[in-house]
């Protein structure tokens, strides 16, 4: 096992990823020019609203987009190979073994007519030539590891006999059968109740440490990100708006969209007189607005925003964001207004 630190070569290196879908109504630019890296021991929280491209990005990594309809460009480097250059068969050896994924709705992902244990055993045999009994034993071991009580008898249950939280645990067990290097979790707790969500988030964190892997956690919930992520990527309209270490995003956010998300979230900490919503709604990706995609909803837009698109650039003593406001102005707005109001400045 490699060392548990943020340095070293990245496990996953996504470079200039773009995904376009050709539809009857025209070309949907779902993801544009997206880059990020993931190292062992890191949890990258990918945040954004519906249609921001956060799920499409992970489907592209998993090679789950239909190549006939989706146009994927850029590079997805995994341990030195570009996943986008692999054939379908080669990709199949990576998918589920080196990179695995769990989804929002575990009930939709488990076959309703097969016992939970045998579905996990099947996943074992998909990549390893072992006997059924060995695979079954491995399945039991994993069900136990993810905290299913009486794993031995519960393995003989069908998915409908499991509660939502247990199904998600079973999915996590299935994702772990081949000791993957990367686990992609797409809204893993959105369908779960808050007390069960807490259990699953703890489990994902435990799994990350025990198996020494990298986790990509896709969510719309900034609270979930704050509690679990080491790094955060904020997406809007298929583009990266802000990307940096989690503690910086939550103590010194730089992009107006991130500010808007933080401000519009109601909190359990206190009741506010009025919430501060982001007016309007996200743009259609068939016809994205010119310039910065966020400018029609941005309170801080000024002269260049509707003409030029701001590049993702690092600011001194900060992290990269895509906004034309000067670094000084960003700091000022955060410190005097947003961060102060939300009690998030250090």
């Amino acid at each position: 096992m490699s060392s548990f630190s943020g340095s070293g070569t990245p496990l996953l290196d996504v470079r200039n990823l773009s995904v376009r879908f050709n539809t009857r109504d025209g070309v949907v630019q779902a993801v544009s020019d997206l880059s990020y890296t993931l190292r062992r021991g890191e949890t990258l929280g990918v945040v954004g609203e519906s249609g921001s491209g956060k799920s499409v990005t992970s489907l592209a990594i998993m090679g789950l987009l239909n190549r006939a309809h989706a146009d994927v460009a850029g590079e997805i480097m995994f341990e030195g190979t570009d996943l986008l250059k692999l054939s379908k068969e080669e990709l199949r050896t990576v998918r589920g073994r080196d990179i695995s994924m769990i989804f929002q709705d575990p009930f939709a992902c488990l076959h309703p007519m097969y016992r939970v244990g045998s579905q996990i055993a099947e996943a074992v045999r998909a990549h390893e030539d072992v006997s059924k009994s060995v695979a079954q034993a491995r399945a039991l071991e994993l069900l136990d590891a993810v905290g299913i009580p009486n794993a031995k008898s519960r393995a003989r249950d069908y998915p409908h006999q499991f509660s939502g939280g247990m199904r998600q645990r079973a999915m996590i067990a299935m994702a772990l059968v081949h000791n993957p290097d990367v686990l992609i979790a797409d809204e893993p707790t959105t369908a779960l109740d808050v007390t069960v969500q807490a259990q699953i988030l703890e489990l994902i964190d435990k799994v990350k440490k025990e198996f020494d892997i990298g986790v990509v956690l896709i969510t719309h919930d900034l609270g979930v990100v704050a509690e679990t992520a080491t790094h955060v990527l904020v997406m809007y309209a298929g583009r990266a708006m802000e990307y940096g270490p989690a503690h910086e995003i939550f103590t010194a956010a730089q992009h107006p969209y991130t500010w808007g998300l933080l401000e519009s979230m109601p909190t359990v900490e206190k009741r506010l007189d009025m919430l501060v919503p982001i007016e309007g709604s996200p743009p259609s990706l068939l016809r994205p607005p010119p310039g910065c995609p966020f400018h029609p909803r941005c309170k801080y837009r000024f002269e260049p925003c509707d003409k030029k698109r701001p590049p993702l650039q690092s600011i001194p003593d900060g992290h990269p964001d895509a906004c034309f406001l000067s670094p000084e102005r960003k700091r000022e707005i955060w410190k005097d207004r947003i961060g102060a109001e939300l009690g998030l400045t250090v």
């Binding site: 247990m166 609270g223 939550f250 109601p266 900490e269």
Partner: protein, 356 residues
């Protein structure tokens, strides 16, 4: 129905619910023999005062939606009593219920399935007028309503699929407002929406409440949303109200261990800001089946303060704390916040002696 703010301040209950219980029989076989019973709502007593928002919070299957549907008589109670605006409506028949329905409305969770895709926005919002034959100039009223909920009057002839989730929810709100109801049940009205849009809808609901003097029963599983909108809150677990009281007091000092666990389980942005040293109380296991609920205190199998021989034998009743807060627990939480370790040890003999 134009009530002045003074009248609103006058309070008095609009809805009074006593010992409300709803059981759903589980039927099986050709003769539909009852095989068991789902205990959806058990002995719920609450009041909703005029002009206030009562939040009902709890996990899936806790009976929060069933309670709200019983209040507006979309479901018939198994036992108990419901009074609306001074009238007993527990057993009122469908025909006499219809005029009452003008005074209550519902906003649903899913803005996609709650609007008929074959009807134009104008038809959808005007339907209550058609049913109750109240309005002469429907079109003008609908356009006023559209304008009030932040849509454009030109949207009158458009169809639901042309709108985003947030806009559809505005259409649902306009429909609910059409007959100028006294009570609106909001059943998870923002949980299908993105955060940035969610805040728009919550603000809209609040300003409508102020303007039209509305009373809300607001159902949500999201504790942050509930805090933002509610004056009082009822926390439900497995069909029971485990805690009820003033929203601010309840969040400052939850008395029931379940409320405490819920509050501590909410992920929040503040933790990474370094301002909070909060510890998460992780409840083990899942919510038990409402077909076969646990004995005595329904929360005891998951409770960190469970005391064998007491909690699983004697059912705790709601008892009163400062500020009219009520909780149903033999070993209520003494102070807040608490670590999980502290929570696990109620003040031993003293707590036990007190509660007996």
């Amino acid at each position: 129905m134009s009530t002045t703010p003074e009248a609103r301040a006058g309070h008095g209950p609009l809805v009074e619910v006593e010992h409300l219980t709803k059981h759903f029989p589980i039927k099986q076989g050709v003769f539909s023999r009852a095989k068991g019973v789902v205990h959806a709502v058990e002995d719920v007593t609450l009041t909703v005062n005029r002009g206030e928002t009562l939040g009902i919070v709890g996990e899936s299957g806790c009976g929060k939606s069933t309670t709200a549907r019983l209040i507006v008589r979309l479901l018939d109670p198994t036992s108990g009593a419901i009074r609306f605006d001074g009238r007993d409506i527990t057993r009122v028949g469908q025909r006499r219920l219809r005029p009452l329905r003008q005074e209550m409305a519902i906003i649903f969770q899913d803005p996609y399935s709650s609007l008929n895709p074959r009807k134009s926005v104008g038809q959808i919002i005007a339907e209550p007028f058609a049913i109750h034959r109240t309005e002469k100039d429907k079109k003008q009223r609908v356009q006023e309503l559209l304008d009030r909920v932040g849509l454009s009057p030109e949207h009158y002839n458009r169809y639901p699929h042309e709108f985003s989730g947030g806009q559809r929810q505005r259409i649902g709100i306009a429909r609910a407002l059409a007959l100028q109801p006294k009570l609106i049940v909001c059943d998870e009205p923002v949980s299908a929406l993105d955060v940035s849009v969610q805040a728009q809808i919550l603000n809209l609901l609040k300003s409508l409440q102020d303007e039209f003097d509305l009373t809300y029963v607001f159902i949500s599983h999201d504790l942050s949303v509930i805090r933002q909108v509610s004056d009082r809150i009822a926390v439900m677990y497995l069909g029971h109200i485990v805690e009820i009281g003033n929203s601010e007091l309840l969040y400052e000092h939850p008395r029931h261990p379940y409320t405490a666990a819920l509050l501590s389980a909410v992920p929040r942005a503040e933790t990474n800001g370094g301002t909070s040293t909060r510890q998460r109380i992780v409840l083990s296991g899942d919510v038990p089946s409402p077909v076969d609920p646990p004995n005595a205190c329904v929360f005891h199998p998951r409770c960190p303060r469970f005391q064998p021989g007491h909690c699983d034998v004697e059912t705790p009743l709601l008892r009163r704390f400062e500020g009219d807060q009520e909780a149903a627990c033999h070993y209520p939480v003494e102070r807040w916040p608490m670590t999980e370790e502290e929570l696990r040890h109620p003040f031993g003999g003293r707590a036990a002696a007190e509660s007996r």
